[in-house]
Symmetry: none
Subunit: 184 residues, 4 copies
Amino acid sequence: MPQERRANRGPGAAAANREALISAAREIFAESGFDAPLSRIARRAGVGQGSLYRHFSDRGALAMAVFEDNVTGLEDYAARPGVGLEQVLETIREQLVTSMAFVELLDPPVSDPCLAQLGERVGALLSGQLDSARRRGVVRADLTGAELMLGLSMLAAVLSRTPTGARAEVAERGWLLLRRGLDG
Amino acid sequence: MPQERRANRGPGAAAANREALISAAREIFAESGFDAPLSRIARRAGVGQGSLYRHFSDRGALAMAVFEDNVTGLEDYAARPGVGLEQVLETIREQLVTSMAFVELLDPPVSDPCLAQLGERVGALLSGQLDSARRRGVVRADLTGAELMLGLSMLAAVLSRTPTGARAEVAERGWLLLRRGLDG
Amino acid sequence: MPQERRANRGPGAAAANREALISAAREIFAESGFDAPLSRIARRAGVGQGSLYRHFSDRGALAMAVFEDNVTGLEDYAARPGVGLEQVLETIREQLVTSMAFVELLDPPVSDPCLAQLGERVGALLSGQLDSARRRGVVRADLTGAELMLGLSMLAAVLSRTPTGARAEVAERGWLLLRRGLDG
Amino acid sequence: MPQERRANRGPGAAAANREALISAAREIFAESGFDAPLSRIARRAGVGQGSLYRHFSDRGALAMAVFEDNVTGLEDYAARPGVGLEQVLETIREQLVTSMAFVELLDPPVSDPCLAQLGERVGALLSGQLDSARRRGVVRADLTGAELMLGLSMLAAVLSRTPTGARAEVAERGWLLLRRGLDG
DNA sequence: AATGAATGAGTATTCATTCAT
DNA sequence: CATGAATGAATACTCATTCAT
């Protein structure tokens, strides 16, 4: 038997495949960055190349799906009563450590209009809590939403280049620095 | 002779070739990022592919050479009398905007031991001026050299993802944010 | 049910599906040539890929069905009283302009035995009117049926390579040339 | 030895490779038409895929090279004293039988500007001899250059669809028909 | 019997690296 | 020691065909 095709698991596998692809993409993006070969994602997901393309017409669409989960989760979290900017930022910071995908989302590079939309959702979410945070003195009074996003992007950007092992520590230090600034 | 290759300029051209390769690499890295095809660098340098490999065994070695110049230049600048941390940082910021290569130097990603050494030279250079800067109130009193480097890395990292056109503005905003911090 | 597939319209839809496939194939072949993806045909027909294969075991079988209609239509037309070779040829010429499928039929390429049969039906049809046409001086006295078919094939062949926009004009010019010949 | 690379025959092989590629392309185009996989051409030429791309940046460039030879040969032939339209057309007809590449050249489909130029060279060549041919009664007095080209295209087009074995005979019959026309 | 998801072979193209000259 | 052609592994993407439901 020279070639042994993967068993065709039939249409019923569609939903499972989609999820497997997203998971695999999340992992592979995390390990190897956003430029990782799509073929590797398909293989990791245990799915044919064609199925990947059926579910996600291009790299951007796949990224979207990966990020969508993250953003939705974040929005849900932010909507809970008693959750303020501090908690949201803390959550983001945690996600940045574990999910390279999330890093990419806050990173300018991936200039996909759809991705940009997701980024804006995060921006909106943060802006929504900025007022209250300013009043409570959690951040300085003149901090703008754009500044906040830029700060997160900077953090995300270094982390995207940081080897997994060091990520937690770099995130910690970077975050602290970002909060306190350099000036005397 | 059906083809007309470039004249073999002989061994004497070795040094000139090396310089040409470095210049070309600096340009190409600046224009197209660190992942640009090596063949393009050789072509821009007006040098055969083989010569590139003779001089620089891999992409990292070439990057090294490019950065070496930057760092040496920076060290020379920093050694001038009357040049303090402010000026050095300002110079770095400018270089970050114009030279993608410099961005890469301050960026963790290229995890090449040799590159790390260069990064440390920048670190050393900054540390050397930190004391005075703290005393003069240019930075806060408890700022460490490592923190400073991390800040620059963060800036470099976003910039490495920022399209050329927006780089100057992002550098400006990012730097300001970095100096003032988020906290209230 | 995470996905919503088209309702399974059941066995009763078989005949309707078959027709829809033929129509869609005619359109797609006309628009995009004989090499168009089968999936596009199925989609245009509003039918599953599998059904396409159930009805037509391969591209050739589908083509057959498309051409069958054309040929039958042509036979019917030719059988009408008062319709002579002139009218039939004129009709063919018109069809060649609008229907890439018809072009393919008169074109040798698709060397499918079944298609050949259809071609022969066209040949028979023309031969049936050749005698009368020769007597009436519509064509030269020694023109054979095979020659006539070859001429049509030549016309079809260029047209199959002619971009849609120019097809009418090329058909016009080609037909004229074919009728008058080159010789002095 | 899991992989055995082809020996690198060095730059000296460049010219030979180029020729081998052209020959292979001529063969493959003849056998399988203009859409044949480029990889097959490289394999047939005994040359790496990359070398094909080095020599010919795209399919059109390769086709150009194949056709260039044909056209130049024809121009040389036509320039000989005593060679008139009859002989040139006869030569073209012969080439159409043996070289699918030549067929494609006279065929509209390959809408490459460079290829079009080559086609125009053939057109120019024919036009140059048309006057004399008309005077000598070789063709009818009102035949235009464009008509002549269209006729050749029609012949080429059928031939491009005709299986190798039948090509000579179809060329013969088609040519005769083209000369004499259909009309009574 | 209909559906459309799954599959992977096939093709174009790029680029790091080697090596004959 | 320089040159640049040669090489093929790697990757994105398409599409004919199969098959679970």
